[in-house]
């Protein structure tokens, strides 16, 4: 595989500064996000936690380049983000695989002709192995489970070696067992690839289990309220005292207003 996109060790990968966004609803402006600022270092896993409707999806869509914003800036390695691109891979909350393509074709979708047919196939097979889907390349999305679909969704962006991986409640729709498997997969992938990850969740336990740092959002309008570091070795024991302490602190933050 070719080398990953160059980046400064521990430099800021993603910067969000003073971000504001409002929607027109029934002729009125509704503020969805206000004065959101944070940075994500290269190789860091950032969790954004907040209740439903607080603006998590809106924030991620703006970073991805899907939505315009009203105020502030989004910078990727110092460059202003204006539109979607493969350096910001997105795993969506809902199933967004192309149903007319097989698993392997979905994973190879964004690869450029430069690699040649054989080169693309090798990349796809390696990636399928990496996410635990060896042997499923020829299946259609309609023939695999929800957990496997999210593995494919992960594979089709990781194969493009994104500088940042953006995930919008990617495991929320899965059963507890499958969600746990996906957590383990993500942790192992992140360690192997030193992948920068920004993920959004409404589940405090998921946030503490995966993230190096958790930002807590408040609702209406969406603002950042607190920041928690999680300096625990992975894999993390969700019933250890240290884990529960951080989770408690976050829950306290979420509860009070």
């Amino acid at each position: 595989m070719s080398t990953r996109a160059p980046r400064k060790a521990n430099g800021a990968c993603l910067q969000v500064r003073g971000l504001g966004k409002s929607f027109g609803v029934n002729g009125r402006r509704m503020s969805a996000l206000e004065d959101i600022s944070f940075e994500v270092r290269s190789g860091e896993v950032l969790g954004i936690l907040g209740p439903s409707g607080c603006g998590k999806t809106t924030l991620l869509n703006i970073i991805a380049g899907f939505l315009p914003h009203d105020q502030g800036q989004v910078l990727m390695h110092g460059q202003t983000v204006t539109r979607p691109g493969p350096e910001r891979g997105v795993v969506f909350q809902e199933d967004a695989l192309f149903p007319w393509l097989t698993v392997a074709e979905n994973v190879g979708f964004g690869l450029r002709n430069g690699d040649g047919r054989a080169g693309r196939r090798i990349k796809v097979e390696r990636m399928l192995d990496l996410v635990g889907l060896e042997g499923f390349g020829s299946y259609l999305p309609s023939a695999i489970s929800g957990g496997m679909k999210q593995r494919v969704a992960l594979a089709r962006v990781l194969v493009l070696q994104p500088a940042a991986l953006l995930m919008d409640e990617p495991f929320a729709a899965l059963d507890a067992q499958t969600r746990g498997d996906m957590h383990s997969l993500l942790i192992s992938l992140q360690r192997q690839l030193q992948q920068t990850v920004v993920f959004v969740t409404h589940d405090p336990e998921e946030a503490v289990k995966l993230a190096d740092r958790v930002l807590v959002m408040a609702t209406a309008p969406g603002r950042l309220r607190q920041e928690h570091r999680v300096d625990l070795e992975r894999p993390r024991q969700v019933d250890s005292a240290a884990f529960l302490e951080i989770k408690r602190a976050i829950l306290d933050g979420l509860g009070g207003s």
């Binding site: 979607p84 967004a96 007319w100």
Partner: protein, 256 residues
Amino acid sequence: MAMLLPWLLPACALGIWALLSLGGLAPSYLLPSPVEVLHTARDYIFAPPGSAPYAGRFVNDLLASLGRVGGGFALAVALGLPLGLLSGRLRFMRLFLDTFVNGVRAVPGIAWLPLALVWFGIGFKTTVFLVSLAAFFPIYLGAAAGAMQVNPLYLRAGAMMGLGRGRLIFTVLVPAAMPHVVTGLRLGLGISFAYLVLGELTGVPDGLGAAIMDARMLGRVDIIIMGILLIAVIGRLCDLAMVGGLKMFKSVRRLG
């Protein structure tokens, strides 16, 4: 059983037809028997041309008709598909096109016949005009409905993986819209045959529609019935061929 089911209704119709004609319930100058029509068809298709009226005309009529259907249908696809996709995706295109298209659509195709005759005369151009006009609407509407219903996440996913506008259209929008597009194409092809016959009833010298119209003047009910059956068979075969051809697209094979 499932293999036979599609043929049950045609077989019943054939049975009733045979009963009525051979049983003497309907006189043969109104309803010739299946056997008579079969003989007529044999001569029409295989006999040396000129050996009898209608003998051996089939190939010539078929090619003339297919040329008109093909020309008209191709024109309808070339206009209906891109315009439909655009109006399904872009609000200003929908506002721009919808009133006009639906207004024109409200006019029965047959009402265009006099105007087409004045503009284009009798023959190829008039028929192609009528066919393309009639086939345009289902193709346009199918493409518009398909494009409108494409899951917006698919377009975002494509853009996020680095596709530009043009490639998004061909690798995401069209495949995702394909089920509706195919329905529109099939309806369009079906209606093409209806308007083919209408165009050929106006006095063109060749074509399947012309054959059955001439036959009315000559009192040859056997030719009329044969012509109707041939149009049914050819229409169905064209539909099968088109659907088969479209199967070269993954989206047709897999979303069918």
